[in-house]
């Protein structure tokens, strides 16, 4: 069963623990500028929104890559960048409609979320469960349950 990173933006406080966990796992240092997940602050609306790769089934980045450096991890469903194959041409960064694959000037390669091999650090680091790693087929389950709970089809005992 595959899982997906699922974001519940209304729970985000903007603390950036996800960015630090991501950069630490990937770079060995705390460095949000190299994080694969970014938190955006829509200040005047009082909203924070974490955003990262959604791992498209039919991935634009993967199709655009001229050297087949982006491959599917069959276990996790993540589209992963093979660093030793990537030539840093950045065509994928143009192809991705969501902007979630980016060039790293320090390495000359592109970076994107790889779901940490199936145990994403950002979800573990989030103190408010704004980022969760859940059943890919049922990312709406909690919301369904919430609405289900509000649905009253029982006969009115007082009637």
């Amino acid at each position: 069963m595959q899982k997906s990173l699922h974001i519940i933006a209304e729970k985000c406080t903007g603390c950036l623990q996800c960015e630090m966990a991501c950069s630490y796992d990937n770079e060995g240092v705390f460095n949000p500028s190299k994080s694969r997940i970014k938190v955006f602050n829509f200040h005047e609306q009082g909203r924070f929104v974490p955003y990262t790769c959604t791992q498209c089934a039919d991935a634009w980045c993967m199709k655009a890559c001229p050297v087949d450096a982006i491959v599917i991890n069959q276990q996790t469903g993540a589209k992963e960048v093979l660093e030793d194959v990537c030539v840093g041409c950045r065509v994928c960064t143009i192809a991705c409609p969501f902007g979630t694959i980016n060039f790293n000037t320090d390495t000359g390669k592109v970076i994107k979320c790889d779901l940490c091999g199936g145990d994403p650090e950002c979800a573990k680091a989030c103190p408010t469960q704004a980022i969760v790693y859940i059943d890919a087929d049922w990312t709406g389950l909690d919301r369904m349950k919430d609405w289900a709970g509000k649905t009253d089809t029982q006969p009115d005992a007082q009637a």
């Binding site: 950036l16 060995g28 240092v29 705390f30 200040h43 005047e44 009082g46 103190p127």
Partner: protein, 615 residues
């Protein structure tokens, strides 16, 4: 590790930016941020220097844990000789700026001299430049931040700047970063303005590493667990913010009201956390929109508020209709109870202006309170105030004075002197509720006795963030003590002062200490940094920092006689409530405090004490 081991020295007079290695011997004795920058300041300036002269220096300082995943590890401080106080100043701020400075590769920025014309400092990793700020001068912190980001085409730049208040020498001007986080107290913004420095902008792509990553991840994870399981840091602060205190302190009879004439405010509930969450009748919305965390913070006490668009303060002013930094407890008290004003929307507006124009809501609100009392006793009249009726409870007077003070116009220029100078000017020095020239925060020293001793002895003037004994005396953390007795408070204050100096030197936020002791903090520092950072060593360091600051103040001309409180608190008993009949029992606590500190009866650190602390 954890330190970047590099200092940026900016000589504004010469227009140069140079890199220096961090003095690691000093880092071993003072850790970072408050402690280490104080050491640098003491070594580099004459404590007698005029705070607003080019000979004063100001230091932006981070701690070793700033920019790491330790919860709340995003703090920075500005250390200088305070414009309001003439004493050592260390104003601590959250937001994201401090972490960005670390990511650019710097532990500290030492700023000296005075630029011939307005400039801002632009830092991009190792590249640091002074750029002209003539077009930014005379504009707000909000405009400055937005303009700098747009000019450099990079929304990820973090900005720390002064508004008109700092430029115009408002003596309690603040330095504001990330729109509504501030190095707020003691007039550090006025020092920055005196140097013709408008802003420091920073963007960094370097990483912060730690000495023992495995131990660090374990220690920080354990720390986060303690925070989430604690009632204050896990529930109270995230849900209500610091404003959870408004009704609590009012009920304990220690909420200074109308310039400390009273100790309970009948309008407290109207300006409380509960009120911020209530649906407004006017527009069906709530004042509180959401909570916000600073960098790395798993508590998230920050408030994001929106003002009622129909409120008189913002009607026809759409620039204030968006969400921005909401009321914290200290601001709500100072703008509200201290003046008898219970209009939540007005307070929120005044708070927005404090951030936008860059001035400290505590000193501002308290100074307005003193002005209102002088107005009520006839010491000043509408002739002095340009026609303003400064009556206690007047929201209009408060919002107008916030507008005037931000720009240092009209009577706002007088308010901008702070309460001590203002009250002296009109012949009523006894009405300034201040110590060493700095106004009290939101706890009455008669109703919470430990706070009285803390205020009297705080090195930066009256301050709740040097020994927050409220935690023990009211909240019962780590254990309950009776707020109305003086016994045992000398030791309590000393312990809080020393531990706080450690936290303020680490890069962490003091609010963690509702849940964390040094037993939680020590392992995080020890794993991040080389050297021995056992709890015993940290406590010794905290005491060393306290005494170093004390020495600075003594050399600046302060004596034990300045460790006192206004006559009102020492002689006028609280009239009603749980603390009825109480005055501040300072005389019962101060000699014992001096003795515990290893100071003479006049409050001077003895040679033995200095030697014991390796000073």
């Amino acid at each position: 590790m954890a330190w970047m081991k590099k200092i940026l020295r900016v000589d504004l007079t010469a227009g140069t930016c140079t890199s220096e290695p961090l003095n690691m011997e000093w880092a071993g004795k003072y850790l970072g941020q408050r402690g280490l920058a104080t050491k640098y300041l003491c070594e580099e300036i004459d404590p007698k220097v005029d705070p607003l002269s080019p000979d004063n220096k100001m230091i932006y300082a981070t701690g070793p844990l700033t920019g790491t995943c330790a919860s709340t590890g995003g703090r920075h401080s500005v250390i200088t000789k305070g414009a309001l106080t003439g004493a050592i100043a260390c104003s601590n701020s959250g937001g994201w700026f401090g972490a960005e400075l670390k990511f650019a590769g710097w532990d500290m920025i030492i700023i000296e001299g005075k630029a011939p014309s307005p400039v801002y400092l632009m830092i991009e990793n190792e590249d640091a430049r002074l750029l002209p700020a003539d077009d930014l001068w005379g504009t707000t912190t909000w405009h400055t931040e937005e303009t700098i980001k747009a000019r450099h085409g990079d929304p990820q730049i973090r900005v720390s700047s002064i508004g008109q208040a700092g430029e115009e020498g408002v003596l309690f001007a603040a330095i504001v970063n990330d729109l509504h986080r501030a190095a707020g107290r003691s007039g550090v913004g006025a020092v920055m303005g005196s140097k013709n420095l408008k802003a420091v902008a920073c963007r960094g792509t370097r990483g912060v590493a730690v000495n023992d990553p495995k131990a660090f991840m374990a220690a920080t994870a354990a720390g986060k667990k303690v925070l989430v399981e604690n009632a204050v840091t896990g529930q109270g602060l995230p849900t209500y913010g610091t404003q959870i205190l408004m009704n609590v302190i009012n009920e304990s009879g220690a909420l200074p009201t109308r310039n400390h004439r009273d100790a309970q405010f009948e309008g407290a509930n109207n300006i409380s956390a509960e009120a911020m969450a209530e649906t407004r009748k006017t527009d069906g919305k709530t004042n509180l929109l959401t909570k916000q965390a600073c960098f790395g913070c798993t508590i998230a006490c920050g408030r994001i508020s929106q003002i009622d668009q129909t409120h008189y303060t913002v009607v026809n002013k759409p620039e204030y209709w968006g969400a921005s930094g909401g009321l914290e407890y200290e601001a709500a008290w100072a703008l509200g109870a201290a003046n008898g004003v219970d209009d939540l929307e007005c307070l929120t507006y005044a708070n927005f202006l404090c951030n936008e124009y860059g001035f400290d809501p505590i000193s501002f609100g308290a100074t307005v309170g003193a002005a209102m009392e002088m107005f009520e006793i006839g010491a000043i009249t509408t002739d002095d105030t340009d026609g303003l009726e400064l009556k206690f409870g007047s929201a209009e007077a408060l919002s107008t004075l916030a507008e005037l003070t931000g720009k240092a116009e009209g009577f706002g220029k007088i308010i901008g002197m702070g309460s001590k100078r203002m009250c002296e000017k009109y012949g009523h020095p006894e009405l300034s509720m201040s110590v060493k020239g700095q106004e009290f925060p939101a706890y009455d020293a008669r109703g919470i006795q430990g706070m009285g001793l803390g205020y009297a002895t705080a090195n930066r003037g009256a301050c709740h963030l040097r020994s927050y004994t409220v935690a023990s005396e009211i909240l019962g953390l780590p254990e309950k003590t009776d707020p109305l007795v003086t016994e045992g408070k000398a030791a309590l204050v000393k312990a809080f002062q020393d531990a706080t100096a450690v936290v303020d030197s680490s890069g962490l936020c003091l609010f963690t200490t509702f849940a964390w002791s040094l037993d939680d903090i020590g392992p995080q520092i020890d794993a991040a940094c080389e050297g021995d950072w056992s709890v015993d060593n940290l406590m010794a360091m905290g005491e060393r920092i306290w005494n170093l600051e004390r020495q600075f103040n003594m050399q600046a001309g302060f004596t034990g006689a300045d460790d006192t409180l206004p006559k009102r608190l020492l002689t006028e008993a609280i009239k009603s409530g749980p603390a009825k009949g109480k005055v501040a029992g300072l005389a019962e606590m101060l000699p014992e405090y001096y003795e515990l500190r290893g100071w003479t009866a006049d409050g001077v650190p003895t040679d033995e004490t200095l030697a014991r602390l390796a000073l």
